[in-house]
Symmetry: C3
Subunit: 372 residues, 3 copies
């Protein structure tokens, strides 16, 4: 059974096919209006996310299917201590496909192991949100006509921003992508992204600290929110915050065909006056999110019918089960009696949890080993 947990689960060809299919849906909506008649999606949202939930909901309805589910954990059996695995196993009796949002890293993978229907990760903690990345890719493709030969600015909280890490990884598959990383010192792109993705794929990049003076070469500007809480020093936040607010004025230096993206919701990091600028693509991006989810639901249901398989994340033969994940955000460290699974990485002696991808260095003594 194929699920979508991480954008890495998809080959570049598969991503390109999803984009093609989404565009076909956009051009021939009526032909898709009944392709999922009689099918149900379960939207299991353990934490609220209106935009993502309604995007999946409307996607399924526009394919002719129906929707069941819950929109926050308080109205679920979680309150009674049921595991994600048991909930997903149960729900597989009620639906044909699951879209799950959960506050813990690895929860989606854990759920997918338990069901025999496809599961789409609609956000698992700070770990992955692959349908956001697919949305971004479709939007870039529709706005610019290509996914290669682009200079992409990413602005805001690059340290904790799950979407920008994931987009960086996705863009590393395409040719001639240049990055301009715009953030305060405290919220710079993490070194593992710089080393394991950007440098590894030889993507030209520069790190800068202001929007001003750095927009003129950009084909894409990907804005994200900066949260006050991320700053050690509130004064530093006050001093800096305006530098990362996109205004009509700052946009004057940008190309006339630059495309502005934002995963939304925004608070104030893009002035509302910018909305009228034709370069503002963030509401079109939301619409694209619906179409790419339609394509994805169709693809996963087809794969389910074909009993398509793919080993994602780990090769079972090399996994070890004697280590314990200590990441407090990981589903395996939280659910009582959850199985722990670690796999080797490309770095000698470094293993990682298959759920949250937290690495452990086994060259250190007794690191993460179960007690005898």
């Amino acid at each position: 059974m194929r699920s979508l947990i991480d954008i890495k689960d998809l080959t570049t060809e598969e991503i390109d096919n999803l984009i093609k299919r989404a565009i076909d849906i956009i051009n021939h909506k009526e032909q898709y209006a009944h392709v999922c008649d009689g099918k149900k999606i379960a939207t299991l949202f353990y934490e609220p996310s209106t935009r993502t939930r309604l995007s999946f909901t409307s996607a399924m309805l526009e394919l002719g299917g129906t929707v069941i589910g819950f929109s926050d954990a308080s109205s679920s059996s979680v309150a009674k201590g049921e595991s994600v695995a048991d909930t997903c196993k149960t729900v597989s009796n009620f639906a044909d496909i699951i879209a799950m949002r959960h506050p813990k890293d690895g929860s989606a993978l854990s759920g997918s192991f338990a069901t025999d229907i496809p599961l789409i990760n609609a956000g698992d903690g700070v770990h992955c949100h692959p349908t956001q990345t697919l949305t971004d890719l479709l939007t870039i493709y529709r706005e610019k006509g290509r996914l290669d030969n682009l200079t992409i600015g990413m602005c805001g909280d690059l340290k904790y921003g799950r979407t920008v890490h994931s987009l960086t990884m996705a863009m590393s598959r395409y040719k001639n992508i240049k990055l301009v990383l715009i953030s305060p010192e405290e919220l710079r792109m993490p070194s593992h992204v710089i080393h394991d993705i950007i440098k590894k794929h030889k993507m030209p990049y520069k790190e800068v600290t202001t929007l001003e003076g750095n927009l003129k070469d950009l084909d894409i500007l990907y804005m994200t929110r900066i949260q006050r809480e991320r700053f050690f020093d509130p004064k530093e936040y006050e001093r800096l915050k305006d530098s990362y607010i996109l205004t009509v004025d700052k946009l004057k230096e940008a190309k006339s065909d630059m495309c502005i993206l934002h995963p939304l919701p925004r608070v104030n990091e893009i002035e509302t006056a910018v909305d009228k600028d034709p370069r503002a693509a963030y509401f079109r991006q939301t619409l694209n999110g619906k179409y790419i989810r339609m394509a994805l639901i169709l693809q996963l249901l087809e794969w389910a019918k074909q009993k398509a398989k793919r080993d994602y994340y780990y090769d079972g033969t090399k996994a070890r089960y004697d280590l314990v994940c200590k990441n407090p955000r990981c589903i395996s460290s939280i659910e009582q009696g959850h199985k722990h699974i670690f796999v080797p990485t490309s770095k000698k002696g470094i293993w990682k949890c298959v759920y949250c991808e937290m690495e452990v260095d086994l060259r250190k003594k007794n690191q993460n080993k179960k007690r005898a």
Copy 2:
């Protein structure tokens, strides 16, 4: 794009057509069972209201359409600080029409400005609830066979009761309507309703303080709830509350064809024994609410197709943007960066906020002016 924010948005002819359409739906349900196939309504309920939400939901389902949405703010992006405008703009990518309930005055208008799909105000704070008024009108028409030549009693909290103000305004369009206003001294009909509606339209009225002795001339009795919290003096509440409870006994003096309405939910202001009286029309009223909403959804979708326009509330040419609304219940005073819009009233020097309709007297010095 036409929306329904306030009952004033509709001409009397348009109201009459909605009533006619609702009656046609009642008589030919099967003919309407698929007229909205493939259409979606988004029910955006920022505060809970089972009755209104389920009424819109069942209305759309009985037209063949489907429903997306949320039933309280905690499971929406509001928690993340998204503006009503941004939420509505996003949702317009997922649905064909919006029904919105929000605790702040003017929120519905604010949302309607942001979307390119019709928006129905399902209650914005203490401001408007036009589908309740349409429900009341359809019920009166079905129960009495006419909307003119009626003596209407309104009982309970006439001061804060949004429904009775709105019904008064709606009835002022019809001929020969007499009003009997039944309330405690503290909760009398506000003077602006008396002056701007009742006296202006020369509607005969009297104000009384008890149900007893005042029912015999009524064709309609519109009951509302009295909340203890509205009283300055709890003893006064205790002394008065029974006067405003409708009982089988008090009903003896009423006409045999008087019609009893209540917007529901009731707590104890109508004795349950009254439910069996054929004059009790409040549950039929709920059913009428579904039918008028079906008519309204159809009408707004038709207007959207025809790209019908109507300038409601204000003529853009006369609006001014240099004033600030200070009403703490107004969406424009609450949402950061919200535009403020004021328009002139018929009274010289008096302007009002287009969102909450709070008036400001500009003859007073610096009233509501933005600081330079």
Copy 3:
């Protein structure tokens, strides 16, 4: 109008017909895919229960119908003090059938009295949960091929476990049922179940305190959860809890075709390793829950069309209305102004509340009488 409040509402023949219909649905799904086109179920869940709510939801969708409702009380009019009766009466204007979950005993009966559409009790406090019992019966029938000649073990909290009481009552209708009651001393099957059901129907039974040594004769093992809070002495809980956890190891002594049931959700009372054992039927049980609910919805809608009637619970002619129910869990003792109804039992001088079935002994002076 026939509703389903208690499994006692159904004759054995009616139960058998529901099981037959469910099996027909399983074998001919496509023939049922549109039998409820245009019909709506209202799922009124005053307390969260994902499994039950989604089971009803998917059942109705697979019959071609649609679903309206709420998933917790906070998003309902309850917050405004509306009675269950008024809510059900209102909802009968929006839907064709109701499934209701409510924390108070007797709430479902109270609601059913108010509506003119069928109401299914989806759990009323600690009182009844008849669709769980129907689910159990269908599962036993499908797993074992019969409902008679069975030795059934029930394990866990037999004192407070609504499901085991109800299953005991249901099984008492069938021939040659033997019971093995497995529980700690503090959570033994209540004497009223022992006397009024087990002994009355001459069902052979034994009471034991451990799983070990008591599995070998069982055809069915019905597991339930033991909650720490049920124990007077926490040390006793710690000492005992492992005795009631079903493990792969303990299962070695059981028959190779024993069938393991659990109403779910489980916490840790069945080791997850047991899930792979073919005898583990609890996830199949969840699936059966959907099918029996499909059969039940169809049956109740047919009865509604035929205007079928059944006097359940009480014969109106013998009821008395002068007593007051003092059960703090009973809907009639909680809702202001609720009617109280008592009926005679088979025991002289003992009457019971029709809502919660709490008995009162009128031979004691002034017991439960209203004050003059």
